[in-house]
């Protein structure tokens, strides 16, 4: 998480020459350790349907190199995605549905996000001008933290926020609760001051999910959900505090001002990346909280482009090549929607498999939430729901280089692992291990029985 975040950070020279190379080494290390973990754990509970759907998605992504216009790019990005998904499956299989081990992975992910957030605050404290984006005529000042732009780290922080809430509930000692609360505030303040609307809404979705699924009384649910609503309002209010500038800042003076090559330079008559909506250039625009920043037009444009290769798309990892931004209102190289991005990359077939995987994870998640792993499952589900929500406004779920992607997939696949296999026909009630298997499992994993853990979740000390 940390190395991937540094790869998209503004921290010279750590970002591009070092972190972007190291992060792939880290991914390979994670993959190797996860495989070793899964093999040594001899798992039996992981839902086969989720594993098959994930394998199908990875297979289509990798095969798409054979019909991509940029086969090398597609293959590289598909292999990195495969590595992340396989690592997530192996981690989930290795934990074998045991909430304690899953909790340790969640804590590790939370620690990664906390380090990234703390690094951003440190950069600001040291006076690094790149830790914030200066106010313009249309937007107020926005906090970048370590990110190259305000959204880069905010996505990660939004997904990690429910994990901080979970840690707050899980911590037994006062010091633990204080540390979790501190991390929660650090993540939330960093995210809210970034002004990233998608991140704020996604964190809200995640926190409400956490509150609704958390084991306990209705009053407890109501308290968490109510606090989430209050926090959303506060976060929106925070984005409204900074004022827009009365003139645009002069930036990157060393690069000079763009000048036409010759008087007939069409980039100064009708720029290719602003062709559609160019007439709006003289209309002053202010970024509102519910304004889409041209996304709706970009999505429409992406769907039109998808229609040219509807079944299997343009190839995995080619979203920014297949989608050509010709919109004045939109600034971006991607569609800023993970579902439409997948549709463009892998067509209707790929999107179908992708959605099937999400549905299967959700079904396993329902079993997980109903099981003894309730609190931990609620945290995983909160991250997964937050990611699914965030994916509607950001293209990130298939980009392993994005700071938030690993957290999203690892939590989703761990959630499926907590849910275990669906009970087969003839099995009564929830999935149960046979007596012999249960005894063997107890010998292999000498930890509290699930019913005792349930009591612990409900606030009763063991």
């Amino acid at each position: 998480v940390v190395w991937t975040a540094l790869g998209v950070s503004h921290v010279d020279v750590l970002n591009i020459p070092i972190a972007r190379a190291v992060r792939w080494g880290m991914l390979c290390t994670l993959l190797a350790l996860s495989i070793a973990y899964a093999v040594s754990a001899r798992p039996r509970r992981y839902p086969v349907s989720v594993a098959l759907a994930a394998a199908s998605l990875c297979a289509i992504a990798t095969l798409s190199a054979l019909w991509s216009g940029s086969p090398t790019l597609t293959l590289g990005r598909a292999l990195s995605f495969d590595a992340l998904v396989v690592a997530g499956l192996c981690l989930a299989a290795g934990t074998d549905g045991r909430r304690r081990e899953v909790g340790q992975v969640l804590l590790a992910l939370l620690a990664g996000a906390a380090i990234v957030a703390a690094g951003g605050v440190l950069a600001l404290a040291l006076g690094d001008e790149r830790s914030y984006q200066a106010a313009t005529l249309g937007t107020p000042v926005r906090f970048n933290g370590l990110g190259g732009n305000p959204n880069a780290m905010a996505l990660l922080l939004a997904l990690a926020l429910p994990l901080a809430a979970w840690a707050l509930f899980e911590a037994r000692s006062r010091a633990g609760k204080a540390a979790a609360a501190l991390v929660f505030v650090l993540l939330d303040v960093s995210m809210a001051t970034s002004g990233s609307r998608g991140a704020i809404l996604a964190s809200f979705a995640g926190l409400v999910t956490f509150g609704a699924l958390l084991p306990g009384t209705r009053a407890r649910h109501g308290l968490v959900v109510g606090a989430s609503v209050a926090l959303l309002l506060v976060n929106i209010g925070v984005t409204r505090i900074p004022q827009n500038a009365d003139r645009n800042p002069v930036i990157n003076q060393e690069f000079g001002t763009p000048t036409p090559i010759a008087p007939a330079d069409a980039e100064f008559i009708l720029p290719l990346n602003s062709e559609i909506g160019w007439d709006l250039r003289n209309t002053p625009r202010v970024r509102g909280f519910f304004e889409s920043s041209g996304r709706v037009q970009a999505w429409r444009s992406g769907v039109e482009q998808w229609a040219d290769r509807p079944l299997l798309g343009y190839g995995f990892g080619t979203e920014e090549r297949a989608f050509v931004d010709r919109l004045y209102l939109f600034v971006g190289s991607q569609l800023e929607n993970s579902y439409l991005g997948t549709l463009l990359q892998l067509g209707a077939v790929g999107l179908g498999v992708f959605l099937a995987l999400l549905v299967l994870i959700a079904r396993a998640g329902r079993r997980a939430v109903a099981s003894a792993a309730g609190g931990t499952a609620a945290a995983c589900a909160a991250v997964a729901v937050g990611a699914a929500f965030l994916a509607a406004g950001q293209s990130f779920l298939t980009s392993v280089g994005n700071a938030a992607t690993a957290t999203a997939w690892l939590c989703a696949l761990l959630l499926a692992g907590l849910g275990g296999r669906a009970p087969r026909r003839g099995e009564e009630g929830e999935q149960r291990l046979g007596d012999e298997e249960e005894e063997e499992a107890a010998q292999r994993h000498p930890e509290p029985r699930l019913d005792v853990v349930r009591a612990d979740h409900d606030g009763v000390r063991q």
Partner: protein, 142 residues
């Protein structure tokens, strides 16, 4: 899972993979043909590349463009070509909404070529310096 079921599963997966590859490649070819047809229509509308209606140019890293006047519209038609002379994008802006054909994401699939020497001369006629024209070929490796 017994061996027979495993073998059947493996064969089914291979057949599915082969079908997907065939379908994906067919879609790619079909789309390329459609885009080439559209771009060819603009090439025909433009006529000679160095025609008197040549009104503007565009110089980008991977490709360059020539724009042609029709009536009062200075940017009515536009042809973009990569350094190898493959037409990768074309615009018809004579109507209310621009009509765009593009293989920018997949230039190797463009079978439509223009004479790059004539194209370069037209760029220079529009004021593009010789060294930039040479640089475009160096960038594109041709």
């Amino acid at each position: 899972v017994n061996g027979r079921r495993l073998a059947i599963g493996a064969v089914a997966a291979l057949v599915a993979a082969a079908a997907l590859v065939a379908l994906g490649r067919w879609e790619r070819d079909r789309r390329a043909e459609e885009q080439v047809r559209g771009m060819a229509s603009v090439v025909r509308l433009v006529g000679p590349l160095d025609s008197p209606q040549l009104s503007a140019f565009r110089y980008l890293k991977n490709f360059q463009c020539l724009l042609y006047r029709r009536g009062k519209n200075r940017v009515a038609l536009e042809l973009c070509a990569d350094p190898a002379g493959r037409v990768v994008e074309a615009f018809d802006r004579r109507g209310a909404d621009p009509r765009i054909w593009s293989l920018r994401d997949d230039p190797k699939k463009s079978t439509l070529r223009i004479d790059r020497h004539v194209f370069d001369r037209a760029l220079m006629r529009m004021g593009v310096p010789q060294d930039l024209v040479d640089a475009a070929h160096a960038e594109g490796g041709s």
